[in-house]
Amino acid sequence: MLDLAPIAMTLAADSPAAVASAPAWVMLIPAMPMIGVVLCTLMSIMGVRSKLPAFVTVACLAVSFLLTVFMFTGHSEGWATAVGWEWLHYSWGDGNGQNFTANFAFAVDGLTILWMLFVTGLATLIALYASEYMATDVGQGYNRFFIAFNLFVFSMACLVMGSNLLMLYLGWEGVGLCSYLLIGYYYKKPEAVAAAKKAFIVNRIGDVGLALGVYLAFVHFGTIEYTELFASEKLQGYLHDAAEGHWSHIPWQASAIPLFLMVGAFGKSAQLPLYVWLPDAMEGPTPVSALIHAATMVTAGVYLIARTYPLFQVSEIALPIVAWVGTLTALLAATIGMAQFDIKRIMAYSTVSQLGYMFAGLGVMTSVGAGFHVLTHAFFKALLFLACGAVMHGFAGQLDLRKLSGLWKVPGWRIVTIGMFVGCLNLAGFPLTAGFFSKDMILAEAFVTPGFALIGWILLFTAGLTAYYTFRVFFRVFVGPVEYHAGDDHHGDDHAHDDSHGDDHDAGHGFHPHAPGWAINFVLATLAVCSIVAAGLYFIGDHGWVAGMIHDSTAHIDPHGDEAGGSHGSAALFGLDPHKAMYYISSVVGIVGIIFAYAFHLHGRKSAGEAPAADAFKAALGPIPRWAENKWYVDELYQFLFRGPLLVLSHIFRYVDMLLVDGLVNLMGWLPYAVGGRLRRGQDGVLQSYAASMAGGLALFLLVILLLVNQSA
């Protein structure tokens, strides 16, 4: 089935501007998950009650990953497209911009390959993990899970590999749908259903922006094919104007495109003000949280901006807005994450926060830093989620960090603990980890970009908070005295705040944690290794491997000075080259955060539930921790500002509909009925009376005729 013979192809022609054609087998990369969908659906119909769907999924995705690797090794430079078929074609005239064409086609460049490598790679690993994690649901639920899982990878591949904005939109909606289906996987739980709806609706708000952006791009540039759009003279002219500072030469339509596109990106990537859906999305099974809501789907917004980076550069305000939204989201989410007790939710807020970093990176013009952070974050955040998932799996859904402690010493939990530790070091930005390098790129760039120093300081402060809340989880749950209480048994049930479960200090009486099996351990170990190795990517090539990939794409920044996110000759921070200085500064900040976490949450802690130092500090802060624990009441604010008024409005509309519209319709029905009710009394069933009325009618008719004839005579 797989013809891998033409591996030795060259994907691009000699000139980087020319569009080469990619070998047709790159279309198998999205096709493999689709085959997985079909196979899992068939198994669902046949009622397979085994782990078969999981292994089919792993096989399909592994093939997809291998093909992506071949695509990477075979790729040289520039665009390479593979056209499937003409998808849409409308024409309403012969002039320029009077026909609309969208091919079902794939376009490959560095950015695409970068994304596809970690999407298919992580999807394969997480599918393997899920084969064990979802084992309690073997049967229809298991099949359903893997159908949606495959469909998600297919949609993501369309989103990333598509050769035009409409393909991106198709994938965008597809991943949104799969996200909805998988968050609502435990559809008997009202919280899960509510979370699924919330995610879908909030994403739709963003999607409106994306749709308008795509529409406007077509209207203004006359095409949505990437290869034509980014090479168009119009856009090149605008970019030239922008570089020269002639912002007024650029028509407002062109500057408005990025503003619409970013709304879509904010929705999908959970940025202010649309971030509220992501923490609730943790109601889904943990593999889903790891793959969709941490590693891949939520980075679609970053991908969108990176992909349409030239469009963003023609607006004076677009990238600064992106930078500020990202920064504020990073800070806000980190402060909320500090006060949560549910470890999965802490990870969710940290995802929101880290996505904020990526947006800030894009905003301060280091698409390389953003891309690198996406990559490292994908690995270590998937690792963290999967480790949390293993805990949840083993302790019957327990996720409250006040009810778990010292898992390191519980038999069978070594690999999980080590995985968690590696993930935490990365997230905290501990020196020489992958997360450290990628975060530093963004931080340093923020400091050296004129006018963005404040963003740099906020992000640096947030990095300290990140280190604190990350190690808060680690010090509470994985080290310290051994103590654990079971959750309430459901996989999907993520918190058991009531104390009825597990008698106090009754460490494990009657409850035996269920240590993870080979699949979970294998995946955690692999991801831990990947997270460590990812740091090495920074040292490959000129400015790191990711820089090479990004520069071979539309996220490439035109060289003004040194483009690689590298050191700007003129800029300096504390008299040092900013990137070098940032290594030391952020190391110190990260370690200080970890020390605080140690002092508050490990030092002198005797039980799972009480950390004297942290509790004392919390009491000293007054009501602020409680506000943070309640997520700064943002959900309540939205309830008050939007949901409440909308509910009132919809009630008003309901009554308008009920009384006015339904009233009119019902009146139309009632009128003949009422009139008929009166008239039918005349129908007495007696033949003679009918005859009499006929005769009377005839007589009347004749009378009228006679009168008329008389008159005219």
Partner: protein, 115 residues
């Protein structure tokens, strides 16, 4: 009014009998049939009354045909008579059936079809 209808002449020796005579006779027969139909309850009598109304209209048709020296009306009457014969066969059969159902010839017992 009647003067208008009396215009035109029949051939001798019936020159004194005008179209109006026939029409008056026809109208009288029709009204008699109608009154009979409305006032009587016996199905057979009612049926005969409809026959009388038929013949009244036939008479008018023949008179008009003769008046305008045109055979169309007479032709039409032949058809009417044919239909009336068929209708009489069916009508009387129906009356027999109705009688068997209710053991009565009164039209009043058949009043189920009321609103």
């Amino acid at each position: 009014m009647l003067e208008v209808l009396a215009q035109g002449a029949f051939a001798e020796p019936m020159a004194s009998i005008t179209l109006a005579h026939y029409l008056v006779l026809s109208g009288a027969m029709f009204v008699l049939g109608l009154v009979g139909f409305v006032t009587r309850r016996n199905l057979i009598i009612m049926f005969l009354c409809t026959e009388m109304m038929f013949q009244a209209s036939g008479l008018a048709l023949v008179a008009f045909a003769r008046y305008s020296m045109n055979l169309d009306g007479q032709t039409f009457v032949i058809f009417v008579l044919t239909v009336a014969a068929a209708e009489a066969a069916m009508g009387l059969a129906l009356v027999v059936l109705l009688f068997r159902k209710q053991e009565s010839l009164s039209a009043e017992v058949w009043n189920q079809l009321k609103g």
